[in-house]
């Protein structure tokens, strides 16, 4: 996602000037996405160029408020209506790291998995603590952002569990048996 839609969504609530936009953006993401004021003004000038927002006369205090245009509203509505594709997100460094670890000699893959799992669970503990503190009705937006991070971290742990189980099942044995042992008849009868 770009900052563009974040600012459009905030302006949909009413007119705001740059500093207010920055503060509201950070509030609605619980501070997980800090913005500098330069990013806000660069984005605002692009939005104005594309006629998605328009600037209003300056206040006495020298702040220039912005308002969303009809085209801006339409753009925002389209963004809300379109699902986000997985492909739009950056490549997953962890998946690539594990894939490489598997084919690199001398790398302790189960060790990497456990280290990552501990780190991710630690992060989950932090998110959960933050969530415990954000229990008021006013915190709902922030809580949803937090929960998204919680569910994503949980998915990562599940994937790591899966990697570990797959590794245990498919890893080549250190000393392969010279000959496959014949399967005892009784064993094969088990399924009948």
């Amino acid at each position: 996602m770009s900052i563009k839609y974040g600012l459009l969504a905030l302006l949909q609530r009413g007119t705001m000037y740059g500093y207010q936009l920055r503060t509201s953006f950070e509030e609605s993401t619980g501070g997980t996405w800090p913005l500098n004021i330069g990013q806000v003004y660069t984005t605002l000038s692009r939005l104005e160029r594309d006629e998605l927002v328009r600037s209003l006369p300056e206040h006495d205090g020298g702040q220039r408020p912005y308002e969303i245009t009809d085209a801006g509203r339409a753009e925002l509505a389209a963004w809300f209506a379109t699902p986000i594709g997985r492909g739009d997100r950056p490549r997953d460094e962890l998946a690539i790291k594990l894939a490489l670890a598997l084919t690199t000699p001398g790398v302790d893959v189960p060790g990497i998995i456990q280290k990552q799992r501990t780190a991710t669970v630690r992060m989950l503990q932090e998110y959960t603590r933050m969530k415990q503190r954000a229990s008021g009705p006013a915190d709902l937006s922030w809580r949803l952002v937090l929960e998204s991070m919680i569910f994503q971290a949980e998915a990562e742990v599940r994937w790591l569990d899966h990697c570990e189980a797959s590794l245990a099942r498919h890893a080549p044995l250190p000393t392969p048996a010279p000959q496959a042992a014949p399967v005892p008849e009784k064993e094969t009868e088990k399924t009948t």
Binding site: Q114, K115, R117, T118, A119, T120, V121, R122, L124, Q125, E126, Y127, T128, R129, Q132, I150, F151, A153, E154, V157, R158, D161, E164, A165
Partner: protein, 239 residues
């Protein structure tokens, strides 16, 4: 003082070649106000560990102590009494007795322990209020939702003077928000001074704990504690 202490605990099943080492050399201390989660795949020894902690099973080697009392040194009667008085269990499949009301389910262990009916009833009502089920004393389990039943199970686990709560996948079949309410409650009970051990295979649930212990083949392979908060760091410096 720790509420629960496991010292180099081992548990093996079977003999000779068929020996299974369910738990191998686990040491763990749980203090008041602390919730520990135990995570691991099926067969990693999670439930065995919980049974050992609760005196439902005995270690082949090592010691388990609850509030300073070593369980191995107790006779069967004394162990049963300690389990009733000091330890509360919450299981996935609830284990509420279907023919008893919510209040009766909670007061039963106290009555079995010799408490008078009225005293046990009063304790049950207090316990129900603590899990926000004041109006449900007369309801039977099948007249309550899964989440409400699990709250009754938690109320029962912590009725009277019990300070150790052992939970095995307590959110089992509950949906995510109901399951979370159960964890929130468990967390609140622990924050109020109880000690808890939560066995789960879900990281999202384990994250409610202060420490997460990772178990593989009966061995603790790693432990994750949350980052210390500034005030805790200061506490550490002062002591």
């Amino acid at each position: 003082m720790s509420v629960l202490e496991l010292r180099d605990v081992h548990r093996t099943h079977g003999h000779g070649e068929a020996t299974v080492h369910a738990v191998r050399g686990v040491s763990l201390t749980v203090r008041p106000g602390e919730l520990i989660a135990v995570m691991g795949p099926s067969g990693s020894g999670k439930s065995t560990l919980l049974n050992l902690a609760g005196g439902l099973d005995s270690p082949t080697r090592g010691e388990v102590a609850v509030e300073g009392t070593v369980l191995g040194g107790l006779g069967r009667k004394a162990l049963a009494a300690l389990r009733r008085r000091r330890i509360g269990y919450v299981f996935q499949d609830l284990n509420l007795l279907p023919s008893l009301t919510a209040a009766e389910n909670i007061s039963l262990p106290l009555e079995l322990d010799g408490a008078g009916v009225r005293r046990a009833r009063r304790a049950a009502l207090t316990s129900l209020a603590e899990v926000e089920l004041e109006g449900y004393a007369q309801r039977f389990p099948d007249e309550m939702s899964g989440g409400q039943q699990q709250r009754v199970a938690i109320a029962r686990a912590l009725v009277g003077e019990r300070r150790l709560i052992l939970a095995d996948e307590p959110t089992g079949a509950l949906d995510s928000t109901t399951g979370e309410a159960v964890l929130r409650l468990l967390r609140a009970k622990v924050d109020a001074g109880a000690a808890g051990v939560l066995v789960t295979h879900e990281a999202r649930h384990a994250a409610w704990a202060d420490r997460v212990v990772f178990l593989r083949d009966g061995v603790v392979v790693d432990t994750s504690g949350p980052l210390a908060e500034p005030e805790q760091l200061l506490d550490g410096a002062a002591s």
